[in-house]
């Protein structure tokens, strides 16, 4: 590699030495127009002077555009002895390209001169010219859209003149504002402006192919002023003043100083920080306010606020919104109604254990800011301070009271104050009882509880409900206070679960008493038993099978059984079924094929559910003809076996000199006795039908005692019973 590089350098040096002096002088390219519209033709000529005669009189001039050779050069001898080649490139499609004039010299192409060609478009008319008076830089900032690239160097100049209204007549010149390279904005400094006089402004774009002008703006610089937003802040109340209202915020803002001399109007916008709230705009507001109270807000809420201003009533542009200010409104005392109920238990003759329950019902939106509850008791002696029984965040409280105390006070509180006090009077249980209590299940998670309207009409009702009966104690009960005494029922939708017994207690409330509580139990949805009765095979024959099961006793929450259905399927997947009364507990399947496999399934059904038992697989006994054939075959085999034994005894007698087979030692007295397998007679027996590959694996085998136990109607009269077949081919059943 190094050698090659050295040779190349040496060659180049030799070429330079051998070339005539100052090749650049001896050739020259002339281009008709160095900058053309993209796609337009370009004509160029290359002249080689006579002084370069050492290159040879007939040297051929070759053209290259970038790296590509360009055919079509017309070469001619000029009268002064020089050679000239002229070429016309029909379409110049490159924004920039180098055109080279070359010469073939000693086998290599030598570049004699180059010219840069440029192609592009005239400038597009700049659009969207807009100007803003910037008081920070004290200049008129104008910007525009230059349009698509012209591929040529294009200068943008902001031109303007002083004028009167409508900008029809120029009344004074303003120096041009030259945009920096590739920038589409320019700022006219204050010293060239008359702030309160009209001026005409436009943008001129210029490149080698032409000039274009934007449409003219006519404006007074101060009328397009864009201010900076004021500084917005919170005004913290002095300790001597009353605390601010929870729905109000104290604000102040200061005008941006360079715009102090302008009359302005401002607008403030605010929204709660969380949620998808929309901005609320307060307008118009003065530009400087030492203190402003913004009210109508939500208590205990984080608000984000922004302000902006505009020159007004004279024209101008809105400033940007100020940076976000986050403020939190104060807390409002809880405005809730407290529904109460109680449960009491006499601890001893003097003391009552009381469980007070309550529920806050918001009276206003966003009034649920409760930090806790206070239950207090005012002793009869009014001079003594109220005794606090509970201070809790829960919705219940248990305390002991003297038996004679029949009233406590409950309030909800937060940092904003306390709610109006709720008097809780423990009324005596002497009202008339509620009658006609009934329930209707609406859906698995709701129950309607109804009652007859008592006379006199109560003021309201308390409904308590929960899992029953008394499974989880009173603490897990849900309760509700119905304030309308004229209703005769209500829908319970909380804490109701399907298949679970619900205990509902309704108590009527009167002016100065409560009625006795009435209970009812109900289900929103009754359930199916956890499992169906188990199917068992009682007896089996060759064409019948007697099945039995233990009926399921319905438990609480289970609807009663209406019927059973039995389904059985043979090996050919033929299905059969029958429906039985709910009182049935056994059934005989008739018409079965002998020695066949059956799958049996029991289905128990109620109005609300159905449940399937596990599947039972059974094989009926073989028929008598088949048994005879098997028996004859076995006798034949036995006879053949006896014959073989006789022959072997004859051949193995010790008196014979040459026994038919060598003498074998007694296995009982050799070590082989430990490994020779013992074949038991019962393992020889196989039931070919049981090798049916479709038969499921047998997990349980029931051996029936005897065929004689079968019921009378299916008693066999055949003598084949003497063979005691059931012991040989027992009926099999497998719980699948």
């Amino acid at each position: 590699m190094v050698g090659l590089t050295a040779w190349s350098l040496t060659g180049a040096a030799l070429i330079l030495l051998l070339l005539p002096p100052s090749l650049e002088d001896c050739a020259h390219i002339r281009v008709s127009t160095p900058i053309v519209r993209l796609g337009d033709p370009v004509t160029a000529s290359c002249t080689i002077n006579q002084t370069c005669s050492s290159l040879g009189p007939e040297s051929q001039i070759v053209w290259k555009l970038e790296a590509e050779l360009q055919p079509g050069g017309k070469q001619q001898h000029l009268p002064n002895g020089a050679q000239e080649s002229t070429i016309t490139l029909p379409h110049l499609n490159h924004p920039r390209a180098l055109l080279s004039c070359c010469l073939l010299w000693r086998g290599s192409l030598q570049i004699l001169d180059q010219a840069e060609l440029q192609a592009g478009y005239p400038p597009v008319v700049p659009s969207n010219l807009s100007c803003l008076m910037n008081l920070t830089t004290n200049s008129l900032f104008c910007q525009w859209e230059p349009g698509p690239d012209s591929y040529l160097s294009t200068s943008f100049t902001l031109k303007s003149f002083k004028s009167r209204e409508n900008c029809q007549t120029p009344m004074g010149s303003i120096p041009d504002c030259m945009a920096e390279d590739r920038q589409s904005h320019c700022s006219i400094p204050r010293k060239h402006l008359q702030l309160y006089q009209y001026m005409g402004i436009w943008v001129q774009a210029k490149n080698a192919l032409g000039t274009s002008k934007s449409s003219q703006l006519c404006l007074s610089p101060i009328d397009v002023v864009k201010l900076e937003p004021p500084t917005l802040g919170a005004l913290y109340p002095s300790p001597r003043k009353d605390p601010p209202q929870p729905e109000c915020l104290q604000l102040h803002w200061e005008t941006w100083k360079p715009s102090l001399y302008m009359e302005q109007k401002c607008e403030l916008r605010h929204q709660p920080q969380l949620g998808e709230a929309h901005w609320t705009v307060v307008s118009p507001l003065p530009s400087t306010v030492p203190g402003y109270e913004l009210c109508g807000l939500l208590p205990s809420t984080v608000y984000i606020l922004q302000i902006r201003c505009i020159r007004w009533p004279l024209p101008g542009y809105w400033s940007n919104w100020s940076p976000i200010l986050k403020l939190v409104t104060g807390q409002q005392a809880p405005t809730v109604r407290l529904d109460t109920w109680w449960r009491q238990r006499q601890r001893d003759p003097r003391t009552v254990d009381m469980q007070l329950l309550w529920k806050p019902v918001p009276l206003q939106e966003n009034s649920r800011q409760i930090q806790g509850y206070l239950v207090s008791w005012q002793p009869l002696n009014q001079s003594r301070e109220a005794r606090v029984l509970c201070n809790t965040t829960k919705l219940t409280c248990t305390f002991s009271l003297p038996s004679e105390v029949r009233e406590v006070v409950l309030v909800a509180y937060n940092t904003g104050g306390t709610s109006p006090p709720t008097r809780v009077v423990f009324l005596e249980n002497r009202g008339p009882p509620l009658t006609g209590l009934h329930t209707v299940a609406r859906d698995p998670h709701s129950l309607w509880v109804g009652w007859d309207l008592p006379i006199p009409q109560p003021q309201g009702y308390v409904i308590e409900w929960g899992l029953g009966p008394h499974l989880h104690g009173d603490n897990n009960k849900t309760w509700r206070l119905e304030h309308n005494g004229s209703i005769t029922g209500t829908l319970l939708q909380e804490n109701i679960r399907p298949f679970q017994l619900c205990e509902i207690t309704v108590t009527s409330l009167y002016q100065d008493a409560v009625g006795p509580s009435q209970n009812i139990y109900a289900y929103s949805l009754e359930m199916a038993p956890s499992h169906a009765p188990e199917l068992q095979l009682k007896h089996i024959g060759s064409t019948w099978a007697q099945l039995e099961w233990t009926p399921h006793t319905p438990e609480l929450g289970e609807s009663p059984l209406t019927n059973y259905a039995i389904f059985w399927t043979n090996a050919q997947d033929q299905s059969f079924s029958t429906i039985l009364n709910a009182s049935s507990h056994d059934f005989v399947l008739h018409g079965l094929e002998p020695a066949s496999l059956y799958h049996v399934r029991l289905m128990a059904a109620s109005q609300a559910w159905t449940i399937n038992s596990t599947s039972l697989t059974l094989i009926t006994l073989a028929s008598e003809d088949s048994l005879m054939h098997i028996l004859l075959g076995l006798i034949g085999l036995l006879f053949l076996f006896i014959c073989l034994c006789a022959v072997s005894c004859f051949c193995c007698r010790p008196s014979r000199k040459n026994p038919l087979w060598p003498s074998i030692p007694d296995p009982a007295h050799s070590s082989l006795g430990s490994w020779v397998p013992v074949i038991k007679a019962e393992e020889i027996f196989q039931l070919p039908r049981l090798r049916d590959p479709v038969m499921p694996p047998i997990t349980k085998i029931t051996v029936l005692e005897e065929e004689e136990n079968k019921p009378e109607p299916w008693e066999s009269n055949d003598d084949s019973g003497n063979y005691n077949l059931p012991t040989l081919a027992p009926g099999l059943c497998t719980p699948g």
Binding site: N138, R164, K191, Q194, L195, Y196, Q197, I222, L260, E263
Partner: protein
């Protein structure tokens, strides 16, 4: 212009008064004369009270609002110049006052006379004797005068140059605005005012004191201009 206003007012007056019955008037010529006198006086009174309104009607509200804004802007510039002249750019006001003793412009009245620093007049802009065209002319002449004084102060100090330049530009803008309005109303003088002889400040003290005086005089001039323009705008 005034004529039309007067006509407007006098046409309106009869309708404001109950039409007297001809018969009693014939019976009592003295009463008729008294009534005419009363009518004449009331016409004069109405004319006096409505004169500013008539003046203001001839000036566009937009122009007056712009003028007021320009006055406030120049006042802000002038205040900035005064602060820099008195306080300097580094130390506190008290220290500079103690150093240069130029805290009170009223102590420089005599020096102002000797230096030849003129004061612009706004006698025609007083609410009592307000003459719209005369007031505009005085405003323009006054602003023209302060342009010249600021030019004379141009070399007072490099630190003050930007403030003086800005003040000069804003005053020039205001003067142009008023001149164009006069042109629009057709009451512009046939010849534009020319700058008279401007004072020459020969020492650093004179430049400092001259600056304080010019800024102070300008503030007074602007206060008068603001009052007049505000009066017109409110009318």
């Amino acid at each position: 212009m005034y004529k039309s206003s007067l006509e407007l007012v006098t046409n309106r007056v009869p309708s404001l008064l109950p039409r007297p019955s001809a018969e009693p008037a014939a019976r009592s010529p003295m009463k008729l004369i008294a009534l005419q006198l009363l009518l004449w006086h009331s016409t004069l009174w109405i004319l006096q009270t409505t004169a500013p309104l008539a003046l203001a009607l001839d000036l566009p509200q937009n122009f007056l609002l712009k003028c007021l804004e320009q006055v406030r802007k120049i006042q802000a510039d002038s205040t900035a110049l005064q602060e820099k002249l008195v306080r300097g750019t580094k130390g506190s006001r008290n220290m500079q006052c103690a150093t240069h003793r130029l805290c009170h412009p009223e102590e420089l009245v005599l020096l102002g006379h000797s230096l030849g620093i003129p004061q612009a007049r706004l006698s025609r802009c007083s609410s009592q004797t307000l003459q719209l065209m005369g007031c505009l002319d005085q405003l323009h002449r006054g602003l023209f005068l302060y342009q010249g004084l600021l030019q004379a102060l141009a070399g007072v100090s490099p630190e003050l140059a930007p403030t003086v330049d800005l003040l000069h530009l804003d005053i020039a803008d205001f003067a142009t605005n008023i001149w164009q309005q006069m042109e629009d109303l057709g009451v512009d003088p046939a010849v534009k005012p020319t700058q008279g002889t401007m004072p020459t400040f020969t020492s650093a003290f004179q430049r400092r004191a001259g600056g304080v005086l010019v800024a102070s005089n300008l503030q007074s001039f602007l206060e008068g201009a603001y009052r007049a323009l505000h009066y017109l705008a409110e009318a």
